[in-house]
Amino acid sequence: MENKKIYWKGFEELTNDLEFVKKAEKEFPDFLPIAEKDEENNTSRRDFLKLMGFGMAAVSLAACEAPVKKAIPYLNKPEDIDPSIPNYYATTYFQDGEYCSILVKTREGRPIKIEGNTLSKVTKGGTSARVQASVLNLYDLERLNSFMDGGKKASKDSVDSKILSALQATNGTIYIVSNTIISPSTKSVIAEFAKKYPSTKHVSYDAVSAYGILKANEKSFGVYGLPNYDFSKAETIVSINADFLGTWLSSIEYSRQYTQGRKLSKEKKTMSRHYQFETGLSLSGANADHRVAIRPSQEGLVVAQLYNEVVGGGSSPITDKNIAEKIKKAADDLKAQKGRSLVVCGSNDVNVQILVNAINDALTNYGSTLSITQANYTKQGNDEEMAKFVEDLKGGSVGAVIFYGTNPVYDYPKGKEIADALKNVALSISFSDRVDETSKLCKFITPDTNYLESWNDAFPTDGNYSLTQPAISPIYPEGTRQAQDSFLTWSGSKNNYYDVLRGFWKTNILKGQAFNEAWTKALHDGVYETNAKVATVVTPKDSTQKETKPAQEVKPVPTTSVAFKGDAAGALSAVSSAYKADNAKTELAIYQKVGLGSGAMANNPWLQEFPDPITKATWDNYALISKSYASQLGVETGSMVKVTVGGSSITLPVIVQPGQQKNTVSIALGYGRISTGKCGNGVGQNVYPMASFQNGSILYAAYEVAVAKAEGKVEMALTQTHQTLMGRGHVREANLTEYNKNPKLIREKYDIFINTADGPKKPTELTMWKGHEEAYNKNHWWGLTIDLNSCTGCGACVIACQTENNVPVVGKQEIINAREMHWIRIDRYYSTDADTSVKSMSNYEKMEDPSENPEVVFLPVMCQHCNNAPCETVCPVVATTHSSEGLNQMTYNRCIGTRYCANNCPFKVRRFNWFNYTNDEKFTTVNFMSQSDLGKMVLNPDVTVRSRGVMEKCSLCVQRIQAGKLEAKKEKRKVKDGDVVTACQQSCPADAIIFGDMNDPESRIAKTIGITKNEQKDIVLEDERAYHLLEEINVKANVTYLAKIRNKA
């Protein structure tokens, strides 16, 4: 009625592009021929042979006995491994600065799934897409199964003896080049190595550097570490180019904190306000209440102006009225909420970061929303030392170099210089698990074990330790060795790393405790907390009090020792001269994608096929440009452009991106690998060489870039406009102030009534369905709820679901054909933020071009488990049916593949197996996890691997429901809330998804969406924000959404 807001998934939809309309009208885009045909479109010889073969097979099948199957037991069964019963081991994931405490689910000794560890105070059970996908790296076919000597396989002993003699013979510097190491035990091992070889220098760098923050903190507080942020305590959040929900630092941790501050309930009526100043649309920008597009060259000045606004006085370098206005507004909010606000910045410029520290200090945020006494150590890379290493390498003073967990030839801006100089180094060793860009050039490769095969520890933040333990014994025990053990061997130590690790914990971390008990507990929990540096935080009992004055209620960590001593004035003048308010040139912003990150896991097909939360693109990187810039260049999505920075240039396709700053182009890191494996090689372009150095640290931007239209156009593998809901109402949203004034507002605005002779009625009151209420009230009534206010759109659930349910990967071409298989998709809708109420010509003009800076809504959609399911009524073979517990069941072995159900599904959540992904050679590369013996180890044995010609869809993790029920029956108790957790819920870092029994009034789901029952024993949703998708067609979904609330004002 009054809801005139237009939502669209992509420009195609907004402009009613011809291709889009064609695609939307066809349920199944392009009925491409699957069977090979010859030129005249006749049945080919191959088809004839296939049919022949089938006939022969059918005849022999009828004549034969079933094949003999073997049952091979253990010789000596390990006591704690029972076939078919999963074991969980607590361990730690750490890669590229992303720390996550996890539980590894193993079946028959094989790790098959990663779950978040709820005992961790850091990540609190959340995970990310990368953490979820990391289990597949263990079974990567490209892993080396042998030590390498000059590109040839060699035995451990011969390699060791050669390395030892070379190490002893060297008279130059021995460089150990590593990623950030957060393991204190590993550091002790390296120290031991350095003691044995005194010329050793340890350099650490990060593919995506945070050196600016580290150095700024050293200058401001004397602490070389990252601050520990607490977004949950912040009522105003201002982020300048920091995608803290997607890729910036510890985003899993921040997602949980951030959404804690955003959640609304009966008790909690307030939420944080989030300002985002950024170049390209990031995940954080998409969630922000106010988003402003800025150029990379303005970044420093935005911070400077914010500083001036907050502390008062100073000049206003930003000339753009729109940006200046928003900075003023943000500063006002910040000042109003001193001690309850937070300013973060993704810049890698030390001066900018000093200013950010000064702002947070001026706002008295230290000790409340961020802390430096309790620092975070997940990034320690030192760009200056790394630059020095490259100089030394080129200068020839390096005697030996050991690459530990790094691949600088690929992911360091000066990778090419390293590659050239590496030839002249006498001894070069890589611990890489594959022949990658760097290890290829090394004399020796001594492959490190996968983290799931290793012992290790981690010290991510002050007060929190955690352990890594092997969940499987090394798959290649002869061909791989944990890097720490290699160091120990070369230092001549007799100990293995496990002993060193235990020894280190005994003498340092668990000092003064009964060691065996404490160690076993730490190993079991995966985490160990010590209050050594942490003040006791008293949580107030009274929740209302907490909201009004949280800063007073929580006892802050003492700040006396860390008074801000940075030179803010110096930083301010340095920033003012380094940045420009009105650069006339086109600029480049280099960012990370939520899926692939730095590119270290590029050979992981799950991540390659993971639709980027914003662009919904898979299997490629691209140049993101704004619509106006695109028309200026005469390009559209898919056109190729040549991007040149300094001397280097790359050619890649364009995606026209709403929200992109007008005169900028954004390109993601992590692509363009040439030596990572069959799956990741040659996907996209490498943009690391385009990063430069500024003020000693890496600058992920270029202030002058040439973009030129290039030859050709490609089809992009975008999922954004697939499975469209045809513009029917699916998103409900409101602004906080209006919502608080009138909570019924959302219902009034969106509820649909049907006019009848007896007046307007709700669609549910007019039904010809009998309903399932009687059956559902027997025992369980499962339901899922998704809080759109919490969902950040990160997509961890997509990969978790894929892992849990053996969902195949289909590859780029099949994505282009709109045949992706993900059971859960996250629809990303843009809408204009233009005010439709003002009736003026200028306002209408504004509304004409809404793509400039759209609002974004993320809507995860999986099978809605409709009670009046349209799919069920059209299946000719009753392959999809209803359970008495509210599930819409899909029976693969009954399905004959008519696809009627998918045609009739209003939510477009059904996926059809167009191919036999487990056997078809077309998918051998991308789907190695179901086509190779090693890859198959990752499959979940409790879920059927589907074959060609059957339909599939979200089952609400029925295998987990059944397991939870069985456990309860066996233990003679009721199913407790939380016994059954779906894979998507488990993985969610934002706690946006709640699954549970809606019949249980004590369950979280019942409380969250306010369930009561009417006389027919049907569910009534009390919560004003709760709604079902497409309520008007009365399918009565069991998946409930909570409307999105923005905090604009």
């Binding site: 099948l61 009828a62 006995e65 079933a66 003999v68 199957k69 073997k70 049952a71 091979i72 037991p73 253990y74 010789l75 000596n76 069964k77 029972d82 076939p83 078919s84 019963i85 009230n777 027997k778 025992n779 049916t881 359970s883 008495s884 517990e885 599930l887 069941q889 899909m890 029976t891 693969y892 072995n893 009954r894 409790d942 879920v943 059927t944 691997v945 089952s955 029925v958 295998q959 059944q962 029920k965 069985l966 309860a968 029956k969 066996k970 003679k972 108790r973 009721k974 199913v975 019949n999």
Partner: protein
């Protein structure tokens, strides 16, 4: 007219009778009994009280019980079962001899059993046929006091057949007599004559369109039925008894030595898989027992070579079905032999049940949900999981419900 119609009527009656007799025999073969409660009750009583020491057809801790009602009268048995020691002390010669013959092993006393209970028990004991005779193609699925009063039913049915046969003969004799009488009369009109002189022309009947039509239909249906049955059998391996790398005898280990199933199949009460025992379980006993045997040596070789024994899998379910042992053994309280048959009598393990979906569904349709659980004192209490389900069924006036009633026939209970 009258007479001939009488003959026709009698003939019709005879045909009906004949069909009935035949039908009776078929019914007789298919439906031996509709069981009485007392046998079933007796069976339960036997299982709960007697089975730990007594078997029906062979001696166990106590003597075999078959023929007990012939050996002793009911009054004596009542006294003996309630308190055997008092009977022995009373100096009863039979009792004393029995006591001494069985190494003076005292039998437990069952003072709580009523006369009725004991009667039920005895009826059950006498109803159990010798195991060789007992055919059990469905792997032991059939329950309900099968053959208890099948004896008496047999007699009644037999008598009925005899009576019907006699009536049939009488009727035939009657018609032939009447026909002969009528033939001697002259005043019959044409129509009546035709009836009287008509002969039962088999050839004509066989040649008739109706008969041929019916015959073709029957043949077609039979072939179709066989065809469908055979197609259904594809991939079905009932009776599959492959030879194993080591001829492990379940008959010896369970039948003779009474080793519990779970001793080797350790996860049968815990998980989806019952698990094939690892070699270290064999070694628990065979490191001392019979370790020189060449078959046992195979296990030693396997351990030395670090290569596990490759058993041949007997029970194969397709990957598309999720079957969980513990669901059935613990939650469902199903005994192993219900699906696996009498393993303790198998020298070579055989797949006794068809393991088809129809077979699963049948059981889910018939089996009552056991919603009780033993509490700390061994008393049956309601398993709280089933609280809501029981309340629901009680509201419908039912105190019992089947697996089917709690969703046991829904697709996603086994397929996901």
């Amino acid at each position: 007219m009258r007479y001939s119609s009488v003959i026709q009527d009698i003939r019709k009656l005879a045909v009906i009778l004949a069909v009935f007799v035949l039908g009776m025999q078929v019914a007789f073969a298919q439906n031996p009994t509709a069981g009485k409660g007392d046998v079933a009750k007796g069976k339960d009583l036997f299982a709960n009280n007697c089975a730990s020491c007594h078997k029906i057809h062979e001696p166990s801790t106590g003597p075999a019980l078959t023929g007990i009602t012939a050996r002793r009268n009911e009054a004596w048995l009542q006294k003996w079962i309630r308190n055997s020691q008092s009977v022995i002390k009373s100096g009863d010669a039979y009792a004393v001899k029995l006591y001494n013959d069985w190494n003076q092993t005292a039998m437990n006393s069952f003072p709580d059993l009523t006369d009725g209970d004991i009667k039920d028990l005895l009826v059950y004991i006498e109803s159990v046929p010798k195991p060789e005779i007992k055919k059990d193609p469905q792997g032991g699925g059939a329950t309900a006091g099968a053959t208890a009063d099948s004896g008496s039913t047999n007699i009644i049915l037999g008598a009925l057949v005899v009576v019907l046969l006699v009536i049939l003969i009488v009727l035939l004799v009657l018609t032939s007599l009447l026909t002969r009488l009528l033939k001697q009369r002259e005043d019959l009109d044409e129509a009546e004559k035709e009836v009287v002189e008509s002969k039962f022309d088999l050839g004509k009947v066989l040649g008739s369109k109706a008969f041929l039509g019916v015959l073709t239909a029957i043949i077609f249906l039979v072939i179709a039925k066989i065809g469908i049955d055979k197609t259904m059998d594809i991939g079905m391996q009932q009776g599959y008894a492959p030879s194993q790398p080591i001829p492990f005898s379940h008959k010896l280990h369970i039948g003779k030595y009474k080793i519990a199933c779970q001793y080797c199949h350790t996860t049968v009460m815990k998980g989806k898989s019952a698990s094939i025992p690892s070699s270290n379980i064999c070694m628990n006993c065979h490191n001392t027992i019979k370790n020189g045997s060449p078959e046992i040596q195979k296990i030693y070789t396997a351990i030395e070579k670090n290569q596990p024994v490759q058993w041949v899998r007997v029970h194969n379910l397709p990957d598309l079905v999720y079957f969980n042992h513990s669901q059935h053994t613990v939650a469902g309280k199903v005994a192993c032999e219900q699906c696996h048959g009498k393993i303790e009598e198998m020298e070579v393990v055989q797949q006794r049940s068809p393991l088809t979906m129809g077979w699963c569904i049948d059981c889910h349709r018939q089996t009552l949900v056991s919603y009780t659980a033993k509490d700390g004192n061994g008393k049956d209490v309601l398993n709280p999981y089933y609280e809501k389900l029981l309340a629901f069924h009680k509201s419908k006036g039912k105190t019992q419900f089947k697996v089917e009633d709690i969703g046991g026939l829904e697709c996603s209970k086994c397929h996901y």
